[in-house]
């Protein structure tokens, strides 16, 4: 689903003279079926931004167009269900949202809340548990007997079970081990290939470089950059002002460039970095 922010400002306390701006005049479009990463320091406004997409927060001024739905300061809380069904949201530490006595019931809760029959919800639960890499025997367990990584997967399955068109992920892999993280990130990439729009909030710049099609950088409530990761990570002004940290490969290239090596564009993945180093170490001997 395409999502367009038009001059969105969000003030946490409208009456205060030193109004605390969570978002400050943000305008940009999150494109349909792309994988968009949202980055920025802790407290920069990333979470505030995405909470406007399913109307958990409403703009103080400006508007957000989500598919064919327009959200404005006047939007009331009635009739938000159709919107929220289309937008699945996985919060930080989603395992804290688990509450049912079995994993199956927990995953079924979402679809049933959005009007699915028990039968449909159960079918969905059986499908989703496998999609997140757990076998069906987990459905009968209590979510509280699972490890942190398994709980995370169950919580993600619960969001996927309502078959949302757009999936918003707020640091979904924090605390997962590297193998678990890669499996979950690959799952999101696979969901994108199946036609979903993915919006990922993350601190991990390597995940941005490896998975995202586009990225947006938020700083003190303002959108300071939006574009291809390759371009944004090469935006000298952002780097100069320390508004962005680099993926490991780009940082390594930047260090190498202090002597002998030259990079017109900083490589952002290990494959690119390796290729560019090899090129420079062989190129000159050949020519």
């Amino acid at each position: 689903m395409e999502i367009t922010f038009e001059h969105v400002t969000h003030s946490y306390d409208v009456n205060s003279p030193t109004a605390n701006l969570g978002l400050d005049d943000v305008s940009f479009t999150i494109k349909d079926k792309l994988f968009t990463a949202i980055v920025g320091q802790t407290g920069s406004g990333k979470s505030t931004l995405v909470r406007h997409i399913n109307a958990l927060l409403k703009p103080t001024s400006g508007s957000i167009k989500v598919g064919d739905r327009l959200l404005t300061p006047e939007t009331n809380n009635k009739n938000l269900k159709p919107l929220r069904k289309k937008i699945g949201m996985v919060f930080q530490f989603p395992e804290s949202q688990l509450f049912e006595e079995t994993v199956e019931k927990d995953i079924m809760f979402g679809p049933m809340n959005f009007g699915a029959t028990e039968e449909e919800a159960r079918t969905s639960a059986h499908k989703m548990i496998q999609l997140v890499g757990l076998d069906e025997s987990y459905l009968k367990k209590s979510p509280f007997d699972l490890s942190g990584g398994q709980m995370r997967r169950v919580a993600i399955a619960g969001v996927l079970a309502s078959d949302p068109e757009t999936i918003i992920l707020d640091e979904p892999t924090a605390g997962l081990d590297p193998v678990g993280r890669k499996e979950i990130m690959d799952l999101f990439k696979q969901l994108q290939a199946e036609g979903k729009t993915i919006i990922l909030i993350t601190h991990n710049m390597d995940d941005v470089a490896n998975y995202a099609d586009e990225m947006a950088v938020i700083h003190r409530g303002k959108l300071v950059a939006h574009g291809l990761p390759q371009e944004v990570f090469n935006n000298q002004e952002l780097l100069k002002d320390n508004l962005l940290t680099l993926p490991q490969s780009a940082e390594f290239a930047q260090d190498l460039a202090q002597k002998d090596f030259k990079f017109d564009q900083l490589p952002i993945t290990i494959a690119e970095l390796g290729a560019k180093i090899k090129q420079q170490l062989s190129g000159e001997t050949n020519g």
């Binding site: 490890s147 605390g175 590297p178 193998v179 390594f252 002998d260 290990i270 494959a271 390796g274 170490l281």
Partner: protein
């Protein structure tokens, strides 16, 4: 070297589980050492921490803390020697101000108020958060919150600090600040640090790394020995260090030395190759 924690043939299985979470584990931890315990989710890292802190009781085997084998009677005494910093600082705050929060552990110990205020100031100074003592903890950044949590732990004057994935929620700057601070405190306060993580890059400041898998120690060595395992680390759910990934992309035709290279060493090798062209 003096042992501060000595674990012998420890076993623990969670109720209703068929597999041992800790399986015949024996480990000595030395005074003033920075030991990293790494392993994937479910490898037994957190269970081991809970056993050391006496939050759960082992099925068999012993744990000695500072020379004393812990049992039901002396566990409270052993616990005063251990401070734990958890993953998510938000779950650790109880006070309305930073200073109340740091004082919490001391109130629990029944310390007189006057002495407590001194200890709190001292601890906040150590973590460079003295200027924030009247602030609401929730208004702080992630890195600042974790520093306050560290102050709360330090105030109780532990000999051993366990970091249970304490930097995994922080952004790269916050993480670096916290790790550097812990290193400095380890030296100045003669602390023993046990850090639990699954991020191999976080272990670079430690002196020894223990790799845990299915409740057993599968590797125990200095960081460069462990990093040298390269892609084999994936078998234990860990990521391969950045430099070894890059070296496998670079391939054998570049004449790089065998074995693990730190980032600095790899850069020097690449500059050397460049200037020899």
């Amino acid at each position: 070297m003096e042992k501060i924690i000595s674990i012998k043939d420890l076993n623990y299985t969670y109720p209703d589980s068929q597999n041992a979470a800790i399986d015949h584990l024996t480990l000595d931890i030395y005074k003033n050492e920075w030991l990293s315990i790494v392993g994937k989710n479910g490898s037994g890292k957190s269970t081991l921490t809970k056993l050391i802190d006496g939050l759960i009781e082992a099925d068999s085997g012993t744990i000695a803390v500072d020379g004393q084998v812990i049992n039901e009677k002396n566990i409270w005494n052993a616990r005063t020697k251990i401070g734990i910093i958890f993953q998510n600082p938000d779950h650790q705050f109880v006070g309305a101000t930073v200073e109340d929060d740091v004082a919490f552990g001391l109130e629990n110990q029944g310390m007189p108020r006057e002495q407590m205020l001194k200890e709190v100031d001292h601890a906040l100074k150590l973590v460079k958060m003295a200027d924030f003592k009247k602030r609401d903890p929730q208004s702080l950044s992630g890195g600042q919150k974790q520093r306050v949590a560290i102050a709360g732990v330090l105030a109780t004057r532990p000999q051993i600090v366990i970091m249970d994935e304490s930097t995994s929620m922080l952004d790269p700057d916050g993480r670096k600040t916290v790790l550097d601070l812990i290193q400095q405190l380890r030296k100045e306060q003669d602390l023993t640090i046990i850090s639990i993580t699954h991020d191999i890059e976080e272990t670079e400041l430690s002196q020894r790394i223990v790799v845990l898998n299915s409740g057993k120690i599968v590797k125990d060595g200095k960081p460069d020995v462990i990093y040298n395992l390269g892609a084999d680390l994936q078998e234990y759910g860990l990521d391969e260090p950045f430099t070894s990934k890059l070296m496998s992309v670079l391939g054998k035709q570049l004449k790089l030395p065998d074995g693990y290279l730190s980032e600095g060493e790899l850069k020097n090798q690449l500059w050397k190759l460049h200037s020899n062209m």
